[in-house]
């Protein structure tokens, strides 16, 4: 996630902003491998580094604090963790039953009280601020980093790849099939007649044709989804699609096959077929089996051949 380009009323030390001289930096670091989940908490060891004499002095004088904001909007959880004054490392203990799906983690330096003459001598960008001073309110952001996301419940990603698709009836649309990749799941919108056929075939003969109809409806959409992921990496896009569940599920399944989309050059059709468990062959086999059993059960009379 990229940083929001808020219009701050004061200089803010942050990547992508040039409010400070280039030598000044702020950021936090954690190692995803060192995150521990206990029976109650998600524990994240984290540290920060600050290169800025002015802001460091404010921390030393108790006029500023280094903090980590943790948010999980699905459960309305928000909490501020404060680094102890003399330390640049701490453990975040996040109650795991209070967060849902994902947590957003943002490090920042904030003011502990109002200040009338905030300045960082020689460290503000001269071009904009020269020797200006600023009025600061309690809690105002003085330095910040890009928000990072940690997914706390990826159990759904372990489900079969078909679980990332929703098949919907949308009578109002003009085309028979219209995929929508904008949500967490891929919505495959079908016009009334096609939807009804899909649902009838889905449950036909205890689901014996399910693989076949998956190959007709889901397979081509998965090919398109994979193409979008390849494009995301190839074009270095920043449209947030990598945050969506379908994107992460496909990426995760591909990784298990040893495939990285950063370097993937092969056919998207080939990969979609693999992810769906050799759907092309399986679908036609199941279709043939169903056809054979229908013919052999004595209820079907062959009236003519096929081309």
């Amino acid at each position: 996630m990229k940083s929001q380009k808020n219009e701050f009323p004061n200089p803010v030390l942050a990547a992508g902003r040039d409010d400070y001289i280039a030598a000044c930096q702020f950021g936090t670091v954690f190692d995803p491998e060192k995150i521990v989940v206990t029976s109650d908490d998600i524990i994240i060891p984290i540290s920060y580094s600050l290169v800025c004499n002015g802001l460091q002095q404010l921390i030393d004088d108790n006029k500023a604090l280094a903090v980590i904001g943790i948010k999980s909007s699905s459960s309305s959880y928000s909490r501020l963790f404060i680094f102890p004054k003399e330390e640049t490392a701490m453990e975040l203990h996040i109650p795991k039953f209070k967060v849902v799906k994902r947590i957003e983690l943002t490090g920042s330096i904030i003011a502990t009280a109002a200040m009338n003459d905030f300045k960082c001598e020689g460290e503000f960008n001269d071009l904009y601020f020269s020797s200006s001073t600023f009025e600061i309110r309690k809690g105002d952001v003085l330095a910040k980093e890009d928000t990072r996301i940690i997914y706390v419940d990826d159990t759904e990603l372990e489900k079969p790849i078909a679980s990332i698709f929703n098949i919907n009836r949308t009578p109002s649309q003009e085309d028979d099939v219209m995929p929508d990749f904008s949500g967490d799941k891929i919505e495959i919108n079908l016009k009334e007649e096609l939807y009804n056929l899909y649902f009838n075939f889905k449950d036909f003969n205890n689901g014996s044709l399910r693989r076949y109809i998956t190959s007709v409806i889901v397979y081509p959409v998965l090919v398109e989804a994979i193409s979008k992921i390849c494009e995301f990496y190839r074009e270095d896009l920043d449209d947030g699609s990598d945050d969506k569940r379908w994107f992460r599920a496909i990426e995760g399944k591909a990784q298990k096959l040893g495939i990285s989309f950063n370097t993937y050059q092969d056919s998207t059709t080939l990969l979609a077929n693999k992810l769906l468990g050799d759907i092309a062959l399986d679908a036609l086999k199941s279709f043939k089996d169903t056809l054979d059993s229908e013919i052999n059960n004595g209820e079907t009379q062959m009236l003519g051949g096929v081309d």
């Binding site: 808020n6 459960s75 849902v100 809690g139 679980s163 098949i167 009836r169």
Partner: protein, 259 residues
């Protein structure tokens, strides 16, 4: 009682078949077992999530907004008292709330009475199902009550539901207060609700609060874009919100006098 929840397949099937099942939602009969072919594998019973019984309180038939609001307050208190052992993680489970709305006869009756007499095209989907974050907090007939309770329950007050009572000033305030930025932070929601109460006390009887509060919400959102609200306490946020609404009112009055 132990809670149940739909399987993902059952949930998807029901949501796809809303139009087809419209008459079933309007009727009294238990229809789920038959609909799922008497297989009983369309739901699961939780082995661990144990809650107390909750029976919705409501007067039958048409209700005006004021009565709906007062019943919402009563039901929020009762629901949250009964289901307080739920964690936010459990209370975010769309399959659970959707199951309760479909499977428990007294919940079905409550939903039918409250919403189905003036049903719109999406009433069944919004009230019987949870489809997303906003639906969980504002729309589903039962989950909204739990989340209203959870987000306004004040451990530090002898009347734990004092903030909930302010939240239910009216339906509009309730929805406006529950927007994403307010509900993310208990101090913020507490400060905002206390400011609403303070401000309401100085308003004339015929003066509405909604217009002032909506402007105040914008102001707080701008403020929070550059300030860490999690670092402010409820009293500080109360002061910010109250002072802003008072200033707005003074500006409005001075414009009126000039005319």
């Amino acid at each position: 009682m132990l809670l149940g929840y739909f399987t993902e397949d059952a949930y998807e099937k029901l949501i796809h078949d809303i139009d087809r099942n419209e008459a079933k939602y309007a009727g009294d009969d238990d229809w789920l077992d038959e609909y799922f072919g008497f297989s009983h594998d369309y739901f699961r019973q939780s082995k661990t999530v144990d809650v107390n019984a909750f029976s919705p309180h409501y007067s039958k038939g048409d209700k005006d907004d004021a009565l709906k609001t007062s019943e919402d307050l009563i039901n929020t208190r009762m629901m949250y008292d009964a289901f307080r052992s739920l964690t936010p993680l459990q209370a975010s489970n769309k399959y659970m709330w959707s199951y309760l709305c479909h499977a428990v006869p007294e919940y079905r009756n409550y939903i039918r009475d409250r919403w189905m007499s003036a049903a719109r095209s999406n009433t069944i989907k919004t009230r019987y199902f949870v489809t997303g974050g906003s639906s969980l907090l504002n729309d589903n007939a039962l989950s909204r009550l739990w989340w209203y309770g959870y987000l306004t329950y004040d451990e530090s007050n002898s009347n734990h539901y004092a903030l909930t009572e302010i939240l239910f000033t009216n339906q509009t305030i309730c929805t406006d207060v529950m927007d994403t930025l307010n509900r993310m932070n208990f101090n913020r929601i507490k400060g905002v609700l206390l400011a609403i109460k303070d401000f309401k006390d100085i308003l004339d009887d015929n003066e509405g609060i909604t217009e002032y509060f909506r402007e105040c919400k914008k102001y707080l959102n701008h403020y929070a874009a550059v300030t860490t609200f999690d670092f402010l306490d409820a009293e500080e946020i109360r002061g910010l919100a109250f002072d802003y609404m008072v200033k707005l009112r003074e500006q409005k009055e001075s414009k009126t006098h000039k005319k």
